[in-house]
């Protein structure tokens, strides 16, 4: 029932407006998560909600299997909260909203605040899971607007017109030291402290969430990934893999293979989004418009 409502909402976004058509972006998604070649369990987790064009990836941390618990709980909480918000305007907002971003982006941040609370409460009520936490990077696409929200060192990249931009700033000790100017990027890459996070979901009662927005264009690629990819594969390698694959799924698989070939020191997770034009060309759109205007 609730899912139907969502689909209605999505398909009712008009392919044509009063005077002209909206651009029809088609988002092709591919994803893969992999154990890597060193770890014994996969603490990464991701989920895709095609009806909402919502994509969430998480890298869990905490001993035993608790990292897995944290990443799954965080991702599922985010999906549930966003779905609920789509169906009901009265869904409460968690955390503070920012006037600098859209309602959608604030909703995504709200979902991460709620995930933080859920993971923190789970850890508090189960001493064995104490200290568990997770990174989050999430993307939500509304027509042409891409909302990004993140906590931790999982990243979002945008590959546009041949140049790749990291949309997220890592919440890690070394990255923050680079930002305040007490460490060079070279020192950061060589540091043994790369795994020390300054923010994570579920490790304290509240968390600060970073957000960003982009207007998507045909030909763009959006990549969400855990550090298991970015520590093993360089940015140029990532860009060329995205550009030379025939599908988003192929990109995702090739990126994971590359990370494994280069050592696979950690779990590797990627979500690749390819922004294509919907197959309807201008003439077809005019026909649709004509049909509807008759």
């Amino acid at each position: 029932m609730s899912l139907e409502a969502v689909q209605v909402a999505v398909s009712s976004i008009p392919a044509f407006t009063v005077s002209r058509m909206r651009p029809l972006l088609h988002i092709q998604a591919g994803a893969r998560t992999d154990l890597g070649r060193v770890r014994k369990n996969n603490e990464d987790y991701y989920a895709i909600e095609p009806a909402l064009q919502l994509y969430v990836l998480s890298d869990g941390m905490g001993g035993e299997a608790h990292g897995e618990v944290a990443s799954q709980l965080a991702v599922q909480t985010i999906l549930t909260h966003c779905k609920q918000a789509e169906n009901s305007r009265t869904t409460p907002i968690f955390g503070e909203s920012s006037p600098d971003v859209s309602e959608r982006t604030n909703r995504l941040a709200s979902a991460i605040h709620l995930a933080n609370r859920k993971v923190f409460e789970a850890a508090a009520s189960n001493p064995e899971q104490s200290g568990m936490g997770a990174t989050i990077v999430a993307a939500w696409i509304d027509a042409q607007r891409l909302s990004i929200a993140h906590v931790g060192d999982s990243r979002a990249y945008l590959l546009r017109a041949g140049s790749m931009e990291q949309l997220t700033a890592d919440h890690s000790l070394v990255a923050e030291k680079v930002r305040v100017g007490i460490l060079t990027p070279q020192e950061a890459d060589a540091s043994e402290m790369q795994s020390v996070l300054t923010r994570a979901v579920g490790t304290s009662s509240s968390v600060e969430v970073d957000t960003d927005e982009q207007a998507l264009l045909v030909g763009d690629f959006v990549l969400l990934c855990s550090d298991g990819l970015t520590r093993m594969v360089t940015d140029p390698e990532i860009a060329s893999t995205l550009l030379t694959s025939t599908s988003a799924q192929e990109s995702a698989e090739r990126l994971v293979d590359l990370a494994n070939e280069n050592g696979g020191a950690d779990n590797i997770s990627v979500i690749v989004l390819r922004v294509d034009e919907k197959s309807e060309g201008v003439f077809q759109r005019l026909k649709i418009w004509k049909r509807h205007s008759e």
Partner: protein
């Protein structure tokens, strides 16, 4: 036995026992604790016992010595204190017996490389202080206090002037556009402006815009007074008071 432990990024580099002789700290190689970093003066500071108390004394260094994040010239030390010199920290460990030392080790295990972990609150606080300090510096830049605006010099738009504040400002015909271009055959998204920590950046849309007559190649930072051309529309990017 009491000792000083030199740390860099939470990793111990060196230990020096505390005896009757002062322990010297500096960049010159003849120091007891040598720190090879340009932020450290040749003879930067020393630690010694005076009247039964352990004391740190800054030797008029250029960048200062910090005791628990406060700049000091001369200060008494106690067990667990941290002296910050440049990017290095020197911990005061006045453990009295082996058991105590063992205990201390268990409380603060060496971080395991590649094991993701969250920074403890103490370290976080230090980092936050640094971030605040750097933020204060950037707030001194005059642009920070002024309002970024786009003034329309030519072209059909819904307003003549726009204040820009959000993370994303779209120029185009699209409903999500802040600067709405009118007329048929205008692109949905002609160009976009992204707000970053250090300012506003112009990026392409379905068109590639020009700044001051030059077609941009990738994201380009906007400076006060820049002339933006997108198709037939001309905009002036200005920081206003």
């Amino acid at each position: 036995m009491s000792r000083l432990v030199l740390m860099f990024e939470a990793a111990p580099l060196k230990e020096v026992p505390l005896g009757t002789r002062p322990v010297t700290i500096g960049r010159a190689p003849d120091n007891d604790i040598q720190i090879d970093n340009l932020a450290v003066s040749n003879y930067h500071a020393r630690v010694y016992v005076e009247a039964g108390s352990l004391v740190v004394e800054d030797l008029n260094s250029l960048n200062g010595s910090f005791l628990n994040d406060i700049r000091v010239e001369r200060a008494m030390l106690k067990d667990g204190d941290a002296i910050l010199i440049g990017k290095h920290e020197i911990f005061v460990d006045q453990a009295h017996d082996a058991a105590h030392a063992e205990d201390g080790l268990r409380k603060a295990p060496a971080p395991r490389v590649h094991e993701t972990m969250i920074l403890d609150t103490e370290e976080r606080r230090k980092l936050l202080d640094l971030a605040v300090a750097s933020g204060e510096r950037s707030q001194l830049s005059p642009e920070r206090l002024r309002v970024p605006t786009l003034t329309v010099l030519r072209g059909r738009t819904d307003q003549k002037e726009y204040r820009i504040s959000g993370k994303l400002t779209v120029i185009g015909h699209s409903k999500m556009a802040t600067v709405r271009l009118r007329g048929w055959f205008t692109p949905e998204i002609a160009a976009q402006i992204n707000k970053h920590e250090d300012g506003f950046y112009l990026g392409r849309g379905d068109h590639v815009p020009k700044i001051n007559g030059v077609t941009i190649s990738g994201l380009t930072k906007l400076n006060d007074g820049d002339l933006i051309e997108v198709g037939r529309v001309r905009l002036n990017f200005l920081y206003r008071d």
